[in-house]
Symmetry: C2
């Protein structure tokens, strides 16, 4: 039986706290011993990836304390409870089953009278069959023409994850013959978002996927109506163009207005739903079901690693533990995700939701306030672009920001050019290698303006190429990291009560039920 306790009640956390400032990164990483450290401090991931933590602020002492903390906090036991169907999302009284969408990790989980793994697989298969029929020209528009574009209408988890994954694989798919249909995304209630997308696509040959678990998300339903109006105005029949991804109990599920409906359930939260029909439908249409299956395979393999009790063989748990050391012992308030891959340009935005919405909380799973820091601010942009932008602050700013690099040995498209003796892909890799060492080791200069103190920690996930398997592993790595950190902070990482108040007040504004400041701001915005 696991015991849910606050971070600051663990004896191992006291030991960890005593190791504040324990590691001198500059010393550890400089010289020949630095090279040996790099080779020692790495851990294989799924999808051909490798997690290198040599430039994080750890040594054998810190790792030992982290291992003790992992054990005392029963991280693996908690993970086992989760994937075996315990009600981990206590606030909403729900199980947390996104891992089951990739593979049966533990015992069969039965809920609502069905085996949940079978349910998720059946919906993936339904979406796969539908996509295959679209690709085969069996499902066509009013004129018998094939569909060329798929537009996802969703917001938050129904948008950021699927969008990030689509962008991550678009070039790969084009280069490998896996590109089936272009995907577009409408998310914002800003009417210009939907209008711009609709102007850019051929409505008559577009499929629209409306994604809302509850079937009541205001932005999404508004954009659905916006799209339906446009289809009708173009003389098209919306029910031949619209698909639904929703829960079986939502008003959308019962509607005859959709060409097909794929189901999700309450046990997979929006920000973890890319591996469900939320991501499955659009990605299967865009790249084919086999590519989506390969993403799931990469994620499943990473999940298996995450069950390992040895922190050195469990990169997801290790990353989580080091992050807690950085946040709660070293006192760093933010973290940056910096993929050296243009294809991952929106991956940080997805992780920003996943991380900040999961662990941006100050009340533990029992509804009691905690007295330690929880989730950090997370942001990021691709390198090398960021080097020419905000890296100045990362190198020489007031606060230390731990960095999470991602890099690949090969590009996706393969077109490259040799300039000054190296390819662009080599330049990209050289830059990320250089940055890790620059941040960690710094460089002394008598002119303090040109002086780099170093001691700025980072890790890097390195792969051969950003393939579907690598992408799935990357996704699962961060999801599992966030889950383990939630366990350590004793949070419910799977609800999001903090977004409710704004919704309530927005409704009051629209009903003109306001006074005081709310009325004054509403007036200024001419509501």
């Amino acid at each position: 039986m696991v015991s849910w306790k606050n971070l600051d009640t663990y004896a191992a956390f006291d030991k960890l706290t005593a190791l504040k400032g324990h590691v001198d990164l500059v010393g550890m990483l400089a010289g020949e011993t630095g090279g040996e450290r790099v080779k020692a401090y790495q851990s294989p991931m799924a999808g051909g990836l490798l997690f290198s933590y040599a430039a994080r602020e750890v040594d054998e002492d810190v790792l030992e304390a982290l291992a003790a903390l992992a054990e005392e906090a029963q991280l693996i036991d908690k993970f086992e409870e989760l994937y075996n169907g315990a009600v981990i999302n206590t606030g909403e009284n729900r199980m947390v089953l996104h891992h089951l969408a990739r593979r049966q990790l533990g015992r069969p989980v039965i809920a609502d009278g069905v085996d949940k793994r079978e349910f998720y697989v059946s919906q993936q298969k339904k979406a796969a069959d539908f996509a295959a029929r679209v690709h085969a020209g069996e499902i066509v528009n009013e004129k018998g023409e094939t569909f060329t574009t798929v537009v996802q209408i969703g917001i938050g988890g129904s948008d950021l994850g699927p969008r990030a994954l689509y962008i991550a694989l678009e070039n790969w798919a084009r280069a490998t013959g896996n590109f089936k249909m272009e995907a577009r995304f409408i998310s914002n209630v800003d009417p210009d978002d939907a209008a711009a997308v609709l102007k850019a696509v051929d409505l008559s040959r577009s499929l629209f996927i409306v994604v809302s678990k509850s079937g009541t998300t205001l932005e999404t339903l508004t954009n659905e109506s916006f799209v339906k109006n446009a289809l009708t105005a173009a003389g098209l029949d919306p029910s031949r163009h619209m698909l639904a991804v929703t829960s079986e109990t939502s008003p959308m599920a019962a509607s005859k207005d959709y060409l097909a409906a794929f189901f999700m359930d309450d046990y997979i939260g929006g920000r973890y739903s890319s591996v469900s029909a939320v991501g499955g439908a659009v990605l299967s249409l865009a790249f084919g079901p086999e590519v989506f299956a390969r993403i799931l395979e990469g994620a499943a393999d990473e999940d298996s690693l995450a069950t390992n009790r040895d922190i050195r063989k469990n990169p997801d748990m290790l990353d989580a533990l080091i992050g807690v050391y950085e946040r709660n012992v070293q006192g760093y308030a933010a973290t940056a995700v910096l993929p050296y891959s243009q294809a991952l340009s929106r991956f940080p935005a997805h992780l920003q939701q996943c991380d900040m919405e999961s662990n941006g909380k100050t009340v533990n799973r029992f509804g009691e306030p905690v007295s330690y820091k929880t989730g950090p601010v997370l942001f990021g942009e691709p390198g090398t672009n960021g080097q020419h932008s905000f890296y100045q602050l990362l190198h020489q700013g007031s606060d230390i920001v731990p960095l999470q690099f991602v890099g690949f040995r090969q590009s996706q498209i393969g077109d490259d050019i040799v300039i000054e003796g190296s390819t662009s892909q080599q330049k990209l890799g050289a830059n990320v290698a250089a940055q890790i060492v620059a941040f960690a080791c710094g460089k002394k200069d008598e002119n303090l303006n040109k002086d780099f103190k170093g001691g700025r920690p980072s890790s890097i996930i390195i792969g051969d190429q950003l393939t579907p398997e690598a992408l799935g592993a990357l996704l699962a790595h961060y999801e599992n990291k966030i889950m383990f950190q939630g366990f350590l902070w004793n949070l419910n990482s799977f609800d999001q009560e903090g977004v409710q108040l704004g919704k309530v007040l927005a409704k009051r504004v629209l009903a003109h039920d306001t006074d005081g400041a709310l009325k004054a701001f509403s007036d200024m915005l001419a509501i």
Copy 2:
């Protein structure tokens, strides 16, 4: 004569420090008095915008202390020195003249034997004339066809600002008949970035603008060669498709390989260069020179406001001062920019560079270490999208993150839909109004998981519509805010020595001149 001093040497800063935690936002903004406060605490900006600071942590006492600080720190005198041509960028021994690209604010500034305002205007005119000839079909491709696409090749300031401005006005331009040519951007040395853009455009009808002040930026020169190879492979003559934006002394300026060259100089830093030829060429081609002139007009009008010594009539300086109160007295480490406008989707990324690269420093303008915090981490995404993502942490997370909202009463395209009695644009406005009050006032709940403490400060810039003038004003507002904060922190906001070490080490990696950790990481990345 101005006196450059550290923030913590000002008597007014001591008074400000004594006001830590002075303002109870919940109390100040609740009830009827909250409405009055909203009406009182606002300041007109240029471009029809309004800066509302009612939900920031200020009251008459704090404002008085901030006014005293502004005076003691001689903020306006320093700004006057800057635009009159003093060497403000001490590290690089350069003047700082981006304001002159918009308007002559003070005395003529003569450098390199020319009047700098006349120089900037002449380059704007050169770009305008060139664009007009392209639009008129006077400058055409090898086959006599008109150009339909312009591709900017640049990184950092040569990319983020122009890209953000292009995206901000693309829909507006299409809706108002000002759309001339599509623009695309290649920035990353990741070869997939250039390859994907080149696959998406019609090379024969595309112009390429290579932007590098020094003419030596490795990423940009690499991508230039990448593009040239593609043009040659397509049987096209690169010199009929390529333009240059560079300094007159750079190797690019002397080349015959370009159809035209527009010049910039060392007195406008990359991150402030959107108003120079760096932004002027691409935006004049995309939207016409008149639209670019309107951006400059909005910026110039905002600059004029920034010369006002009354902090309540100088929204740029006031925003800067409140930001320093938040950073150095209240102790907030990050800030978020949250535009409720999909068109501003990349504006936060531009500000992230502008702010973090300018003020992410710990050494003052005399090369001495400072003992106070300087520039915060800055991040952001458009609302309402962010509400369904990272707002959970902003509402209920461990750390308070001051927020900078932007909102408009009208959309750009004008296509809208009424659902449940309101348009999408009204829903967008209702949401931002609701968020301000939710963050500031919170809401008590016995279930702490649903409890909102409030006291989370924000400001909002409100406009009628995101027009070129409004965009120019917005751009100048933040640039000036960053400048004033640099003055307060006594930093040189106009150099970026922190990006140099990474460049040096990357060159060593590419030359295989590595050992230790650097060699180990290079090997892992197969350089």
